[in-house]
């Protein structure tokens, strides 16, 4: 810990993509001051360019925008755009960083983002944001929801900046006088305690390779370009048209691994990890845009190894009719002059086939740009052979230099959830090192004083969101706008392209102030994701945050109905209902309750230990509960991580640190038997055999309860002697057992128990594990025959190098399909494995000395019990269900509870550790505060109506209601009323649903409000 240093509380984050933003928010919430340095004109990164995200098909911008807005307005985050790091000196705890901030040529203080400059600018250039599928002007804003929403001039194409005295139109038309042609670069020097590098990646450019015709054939595009074509804000407003002739696309092909897994053509030997999933997603979404579209994906292995990914692929096959063809297509040829394209390939039956397509999409990989390599050099950190930041599996976000951390795609290709995890993990790693406690945290952001609206007539403002075209493509929003203006109490109506953008928040604040609005209806998407954002905006406009209602005209309307007239009618109904409800909304005050600054971690595997250690290093007391008699969990069965780290040694170190840390209280052979409470104030009862039960108090809890190995019942397991699971094999190998030692022929069978009915998911670690074992066997004795029977080899990321090495060493890989599983039999002590060989197109029989089954990872049995105790949901495979697959990967919907490790989904060591750190960072955002604000949605007693019948006392699940005597009547009988203990009340409304006299209501959902909604829904 570096507590004495001066700069301890400030952190530099390079890269304003989703990874950097997550790190920034977690640190800022924990009290650190963050400089978020972004090289372009706005934060958002690559995710801002995507149309939809897998596997939930969420609109990318819609889930990202609230995070961007939060970064933009957080008092502890300073965003430096158009900025590059030019020098870093000093050491951990005390870095000096030089920043060069390039000129924007527009004064951000003055720019009101009206866009008149862009409208009038005569200079058109390719738009990078649109991946060159469209054009932008020389003066432009990066995208409509940009944070900060400030225009900028591109000095390379601007006429005036290149020819002094010419053009200058923008300056003439700018009403705000914001244009500064004489703007110059600024130098900044920052003093920080730690540095996080999250500069992202660049997409592989297939032009140079030539073979795919990219750059030559206009209808060959990259996946990123398709993303823009599919996007409502893209060049074709979401219509899928062929670039060559604007003809609607009817047939589309995706070529996988362009710029990945290929050292000859592109020099990138690794797997980019995300392309399989995004190709499936794009195919599915494209089909939604063009009904009847025929889509085919040409691939080597489908790598859908993440949570819910395999189900997504199955659905794409069965429901969307996407074709999957296993082969490598070596070239794309023009077929005719009209732009059609021809693919040649050898199909799975071994026949030469040719097929024609309207459009071919290259699924381009991720790589590290020269710019980022320079940054690494300035920072003085090491890169891997493929130029990703070097980190170690047990310290997945720590760079080679102390005090500098690396995360996101910079340290290896990965998808959004893992980037978010690593962003949080880097925040935890920084905090673990700097150890800032809450006593030192700066005060929370101030809001303007709240206007008292209780005496005012309702003045309702209705804001209708287009959501790009997600809503406006189906709903006639102008009609809804006109309709809304006639509703009772409505004094202001307007439409916004994106209601959640930073710009709209400013518009909202202005409208509320100027029109003296005291109620707001946002007709947009779901309150489950966006209500917090708009509440915040109400607060900053000076009215109570609960005077808000959302009408969900997207998820419940434009996305589920096709017919414009019906959807428009329904939208009007939904708006009317929201207006009716909000009219009687009252100001509510969230209650502040103190936080118990202590954490509980359940599970003593590597995830649990890492989380506990990080919290303890930050200065928080932690209870670590482990049900078995020793720490270590599943890692005790592992020998090496994929990159070769010796697991037993690292685990031993971790156990040592955890055991001696004076802030960690260990509870071995202990289980949680009871739990109650709420965020900041949990009470859990611990049960240890032979000891008295004890109850501990904690503010947060991290569920790291691990997973277990699936026990197979096929392939002769437990019947044939030398058929073993991979973990058993590892042990036998280690012990130099004679069958292993003398064995000459080994067969690994993959996906045993994974990716089939009942467990339609990939266990993620088994491919790499088998490849590692195979390499080991070959290394010991190159004369051995080693076979791996697989469905798809999923050695994602830099694990691909192991796969390559295994092939070079002569390991034989044979693909099988689910309907043709291998057969294992034993005749006269000889094991035979029969499998269909897809390359030779005939059955083969392998004589094996040993068969190793790569078995699935399943959730622990106890997970059900814990889920019950803490009211946390499980997914369909029995793993913990996180709050949001993309953006809240370690949070639960219940505040104050987090998850990490195998209990959430199968994953390798490095990912478990990153998740554990992330969980710790998320927990710290709470622990670092002295109090939490509980939601104002709570039961309130109407003392005029309550007759003290006490029916509600019995139904309250939290014992939050008590019956009290308030008076004596004339017969000296007690007069009773119920009273709510609001800290205990969670606002479920059981009392409201029970009360015979309408004597108790949940604020925000009162009987009156619900009645109004019913009435409004039915008044037609």
């Amino acid at each position: 810990m570096l507590r004495d240093s001066m700069n301890v509380g400030a952190v530099l984050i390079v890269g304003g993509g989703v990874t950097g933003m997550q790190a920034a928010l977690d640190l800022a919430e924990s009290g650190y001051y963050v400089y978020l340095v972004e090289k372009s004109g706005a934060i958002g990164g690559a995710m801002a360019q995507l149309d939809k995200t897998f596997p939930t098909n969420d609109c990318s911008m819609c889930i990202l925008a609230p995070k961007m807005v939060e970064c933009g307005r957080h008092a502890n985050i300073e965003i430096l755009t158009l900025s590059d790091v030019t020098d870093i000196s000093g050491t951990a705890g005390n870095f000096q960083v030089s920043i060069n901030q390039r000129p924007r040529y527009v004064d951000p203080e003055k720019c009101i983002a009206c866009g008149v400059c862009t409208d009038n600018c005569p200079q058109l250039v390719d738009s990078d944001y649109d991946a060159k599928t469209g054009k932008r002007k020389s003066i432009y804003v990066k995208y409509a929801q940009a944070v900060p929403l400030k225009y900028q001039i591109d000095p390379h194409s601007c006429i005036r900046l290149n020819k002094p005295g010419k053009c200058g139109i923008c300056e003439e038309v700018c009403v705000a006088n914001a244009i500064r042609f004489d703007d110059a670069a600024k130098k900044r020097k920052l003093a920080v305690g730690a540095i996080i590098l999250a500069p992202g990646y660049e997409a592989f450019d297939p032009t140079a390779a030539g073979v795919w015709g990219y750059g030559r054939l206009p209808n060959v595009i990259t996946s990123l370009q398709l993303e823009r074509y599919l996007s409502a804000t893209g060049p074709t407003a979401g219509r899928l048209l062929r670039p060559s002739d604007n003809k609607p696309v009817r047939k589309i092909a995706f070529l996988q691994c362009v710029g990945s897994r290929d050292e000859n053509l592109c020099g990138n030997g690794y797997c980019s990890s995300v392309c399989c999933m995004y190709a499936i997603k794009e195919a599915v979404i494209a089909r939604q845009h063009v009904p009847g579209l025929s889509a085919a994906i040409y691939y080597m292995d489908m790598r859908t190894h993440g949570k819910d990914f395999d189900t997504y692929m199955e659905k794409a096959k069965t429901e969307s009719g996407v074709r999957f063809i296993r082969c490598r297509v070596h070239g794309v040829e023009p077929y005719s002059r009209n732009g059609d394209l021809r693919l040649h390939y050898i199909n799975e039956e071994g026949r030469q086939v040719e097929e024609l397509f309207d459009m071919v999409v290259l699924s381009v990989g991720l790589q590290i740009s020269t710019h980022i390599r320079e940054l690494a050099e300035i920072a003085g950190i090491q890169l891997s052979a493929s130029s990703f930041a070097s980190t170690s599996d047990f310290a997945p976000v720590t760079s080679s230099k102390e005090g500098i951390f690396a995360c996101g795609a910079f340290s290896g290709p990965k998808g959004i959830p893992q980037c978010v995890v690593e962003g949080s993990a880097a925040a935890a790693a920084v905090a673990g090192q700097l150890g800032l406690r809450c006593e030192e945290t700066p005060p929370l952001p101030e809001y303007p004083e709240e206007r008292n609206t209780s005496e005012e007539e309702a003045r309702i403002g209705v804001f209708i969101c287009h959501c790009g075209s997600n809503i406006s493509a189906v709903v006639d929003v102008a009609d809804v706008e006109e309709y809304a203006s006639g509703l009772p109490g409505v004094v202001h109506v307007e439409r916004n392209l994106f209601s959640c953008s930073q710009e709209t928040q400013d518009i909202l604040v202005d409208a509320i102030r100027q029109k003296q609005l005291n109620r707001v209806v946002i007709a947009a998407c779901t309150p489950r994701t966006h209500e917090p954002l708009f509440r915040e905006t109400l607060k900053s406009s000076g009215i109570n945050e609960y005077l808000l209602e959302m009408a969900n005209i997207r998820n419940h309307n434009s996305w589920v109905h096709d017919d414009t007239s019906q959807a428009t009618l329904k939208a009007k109904d939904l708006v009317r209902m929201a207006v009716a409800k909000v009219a009687t909304a009252e100001s509510l005050r969230p209650e502040a309750v103190p936080i118990t600054q202590r954490g509980l971690v359940i599970g003593g595997g590597i995830a649990g230990m890492t989380a506990a250690l990080n919290l303890a290093n930050q200065g928080y007391d932690v209870d670590l509960v482990e049900k078995s008699d020793r720490l270590g969990g599943n890692a005790l069965n592992l020998k090496h991580t994929y990159s070769g780290v010796h697991v037993p040694m690292q685990v031993a170190k971790l156990i040592d640190k955890v055991s001696v840390h004076d802030r960690i209280q260990l509870h071995i052979e202990t289980e949680v038997s009871k739990a109650k409470g709420f965020v900041g104030n949990f009470k859990s009862t611990l049960k240890t055999p032979g000891r008295k039960n004890r109850t501990i108090e904690h503010g947060v809890a991290i569920m790291a309860t691990g997973g277990q190995i699936f026990r197979p019942t096929e392939y002769g397991y437990k019947q044939i002697r030398c058929v073993v699971t991979s973990i058993e094999f590892e042990r036998l190998h280690e012990l130099k057992e004679k069958h292993v030692k003398q064995g000459k022929s080994f067969v690994f069978i993959q996906c045993v128990g994974s990716r089939e009915k009942g467990r339609m998911y990939c266990s993620k670690v088994c491919c790499t594990h088998s490849v590692q074992s195979a390499i080991e066997l070959k290394r010991e004795d190159p004369g051995r025959n080693v076979y791996i029977l697989y469905r798809d080899m999923r050695t994602y990321g830099e694990r691909e190098y192991l796969f390559k090495k295994a092939r070079e060493m002569g390991v034989v890989f044979i693909n099988y399909e689910l309907h043709g599983k291998p057969k294992v039999t034993e005749v006269d002590r000889q094991i035979n494995v029969d499998v269909w060989d897809h390359v030779l197109h005939r059955p083969v029989r392998i004589k094996a000395d040993m068969v190793v089954l790569a078995t699935a990872i399943v959730a622990n049995a106890e997970i059900d019990k814990l889920a019950q105790l803490y009211r946390i949901p499980l997914d369909e495979n029995g793993f913990y269900q996180e709050a949001h697959a993309k953006l809240r990967p370690v949070d639960f919907t219940t505040e104050g509870l987090f998850t990490a490790g195998l209990a959430q989904y199968p994953k390798p060591v490095d990912e478990s550790i990153a998740q554990a750190l992330a969980a710790s960072a998320r927990a710290t955002t709470l622990l670092s505060k002295k109090e939490v604000y509980l939601d104002g949605i709570k039961a309130v007693v109407n003392e005029h109506k309550c007759d003290g019948c006490a029916l509600c006392v019995d139904v309250c699940p939290y014992h939050a209601i008590e019956l009290i005597e308030i008076d004596r009547d004339k017969d000296d009988q007690p007069v009773k009323l119920v009273r709510i203990n609001s800290a205990q009340c969670k606002g479920c409304g059981m009392c409201q649903g029970t009360c015979p006299v309408r004597g108790v209501d949940v604020a925000g959902f009162t009987m009156e409000q619900l009645s109004h909604q019913i009435k409004a829904a039915l008044e037609i």
Binding site: T56, N57, D58, Q288, T526, P527, R528, N552, R554, N555, H556, N557, W559, V560, H561, D562, D563, Q566, A567, L569, K570, D573, L574, M577, Q868, R871, P873, D875, E876, Q881, T893, T894, I937, V955, P957, Y958, K986, G987, C988, G989, M990, Q992, G993, T994, C995, R998, V1002, F1005, M1007, L1010, S1011, Q1013, I1014, K1015, A1017, L1018, I1020
Partner: protein, 132 residues
Amino acid sequence: MDREPIIIAFCCNWCSYAAADLAGNSRLKYPPNVRIIRVMCSGMVHPELVVESLSQGADGVMIMGCHIGECHYIDGNQKALARSDMITELLEDFGFEEQRFGIFWLSSAEPERFVEAVSDMTERVKKLAQAG
């Protein structure tokens, strides 16, 4: 019935409302005649609100909550279930067919179930209209 039936659906915030959201994300299609009213828990819905909906002209009322055992508030849905007999009796008193009311359980990850429930209910009340 020449007009489309109207159904009021009380959805709990944690599972059924989330499932309806996910139905949107997954672009599932269902009849446009359901009006969702968000409540915190299925156990929050007072029987009077069901009667009120029908008397005001709704053709059907649904209460949708989390699966039994998975209510965000321990057992709110069981309380809702226990109350549903009372609701059916109440409806009888007011002269409404009991089929006009339905209670459904679904998890936040089951948008298909949401669509199924809504479609079933629509069919149900359409049949009633034909019969009556």
